[in-house]
Symmetry: C2
Subunit: 348 residues, 2 copies
């Protein structure tokens, strides 16, 4: 039994459980039982000696070796379109805060909603044998679900392939909520900036918008839906197009707060005031939404809570408990970017 393999380890080899055992005068098995919090009985004397030796040697267990044997890594993969988006940053924070106490670590992947990138990361996570996945923000469809082959517990945040456990809000209701708020303020010409076409979240919000208009008996001709995106890019041009319409809308829905803030600015640059001339509603209620001037009226989506709930559902799955769909509530937060329609003003 010669030790042949020794590929010139640059870093000093850290103490192993055998080192600890030797120093404590016990077998590796006993040392393991103490250090891995096993429920196998160990004498008090032995326990103390092992603990002392471990401390003295600065022993740090190697989770790779442990995981190889136990088939559990206590790591979860998190797939998110983009952490730079404050909404996803909030989700991520919730995920991490829920993972920590369970002693699970989070491997972060930004997909940019790019299926190729997503698949690449998926494979990387499977190679690392993560215990499970939390997937937020679309483009995780049936094909991707097939990659994990059901071998990996997955919890979606937002809508995903049927059958996959999921934590989400009702975006149709959210879209309707925002629209009804504007209708109640007297607006009839309400435009809707939709998010990216691939996003079910965006599609649902538009659906809610349409439904609310129909239910209020607003003529279909008043429906105006323009595809935007979830980022401020291109917003000034879109707003210009809206202002050029005849008659022009007196209110509008932005796909999220980030875009809403950009819309307010674009309107400002075109000489329109919010909310006096145009009312604007966003979605998400990201932290800055309440600090900008005018403070944004928005439909709050509990990003942080969604993250937490997803990890909790995943934890349940890993513990053998089935998980279904969790729907968290959204809430309209009326602030300063919307007001009663003043017939004398408006964009026209």
């Amino acid at each position: 039994m010669g030790a042949r393999l020794r590929a010139a380890p640059r870093r000093r080899r850290s103490a192993t459980i055998r080192d600890v055992a030797r120093r404590a005068g016990v077998s590796p098995a006993t040392a393991s039982r103490v250090l891995s919090a096993s429920r196998h009985p160990v004498s008090e004397r032995g326990r103390r000696r092992v603990l002392a030796a471990a401390r003295r040697l600065g022993y740090i267990p190697n989770l790779l070796a442990r995981s190889l044997l136990t088939r559990e890594t206590a790591a979860i993969g998190v797939l998110v379109p983009d952490v730079s988006n404050p909404y996803y940053a909030g989700v991520l924070r919730g995920i991490e805060d829920a993972a920590g106490p369970a002693r699970r670590t989070v491997i972060l992947c930004n997909t940019d909603r790019d299926p190729a990138k997503l698949r690449w990361y998926l494979r990387a996570l499977m190679e690392r044998r993560v215990d499970g996945l939390v997937v937020a923000g679309g483009s995780f469809g049936r094909a991707e679900s097939a990659i994990t082959g059901g071998a990996l517990p997955v919890v979606m945040i937002g809508r995903g392939p049927a059958r996959l456990p999921c934590v989400r809000v009702d975006n149709v209701a959210a879209g309707a909520l925002a629209t009804r708020h504007l209708l109640e303020l007297g607006h009839r010409r309400i435009a809707c900036l939709a998010g990216p076409a691939v996003s079910t979240t965006a599609a649902d919000r538009v659906a809610g918008y349409r439904r609310a208009l129909r239910e209020a008996g607003v003529p279909a001709a008043h429906e105006v839906v323009l595809e935007a995106g979830f980022t401020p890019a291109g917003v000034p041009a879109l707003v210009a197009r809206l202002l050029a319409r005849e008659p022009a809308p007196t209110a509008l829905l932005a796909p999220n707060d980030l875009v809403a803030i950009a819309v307010v600015r674009a309107l400002h640059e075109q000489g329109r005031r919010v909310p006096e001339d145009v009312s604007v509603v966003g979605f998400d209620d990201i932290p800055v939404a309440s600090y900008v001037v005018p403070a944004l009226t928005t439909v709050a989506v509990p990003a942080y809570a969604l993250g937490r709930a997803a990890v909790e559902a995943l934890g349940g799955l890993l513990a053998g408990r089935p998980a279904g769909t969790v729907v968290l509530p959204t809430e309209l937060r009326v602030r300063e970017s919307t007001s009663v329609l003043d017939e004398r003003r408006g964009l026209a």
Copy 2:
């Protein structure tokens, strides 16, 4: 050699390299050489058979096993105070974008600037045998540095313990830059909201502020430094205190853009306009900074580039190349929240 251990694996055992080898009619060694991109020669025929078998079996290598042997995990730990902060979200994005191409994955840890949490995560990362660490945002001092015991390559983002490679900006210069901008606009009574006391970033910016004032010959009595924080909490009260001063400042520095936006709002609520009555400068140039009204004048800190540079430095370290200190430039972005001092207005 009986196979005894079979702890009722709930998940179907995935194919191993032995399975692939058997199916391909070669030895595990040959299969390994093909699948791990070893430079050991393998016949073309063998290579094709192995690849085919791997594909057919849906083989996914187990990185845990590989890492146990190679002593490299291709994972890096990232310690950040809080991803919800757009600045750190940007840093994180840069880190991830640089890590991906190197096939490294990112394990994310939010420390909340809490030393206990930091140490807890540090240990978790060492147990996972990450290849290295990127640490952003303070509270990583000598004690923490000692934990890694030099066994782990660390790259700091921002100032850290001496001797540790670090990627940062010159925050003293940044603070001076912002202050000089206000001085050039004619302001003399400039207040400074400092970030948290523990933050060297905050301290440096204040130092720059003081230096610029001194160099401009502004009386020391005009120096006003109030401790704020990096979040908007408590901003209204601070602004109220500032407005109550006699004479009141005509301009102020916020510790970062997030706080600057809150300051603008608080001033607005107190009936002061920005920049007509008070000029405000922020730091970071987070994405929303240019979309709010008024658009924020700010000293841009290249968060994304810092993240990238840190990972590149870490990669160098891992490849045996030494890393020193990299200082990236900051840049004043003059927008709408600052203007020439109008003697007839001001807060007084």
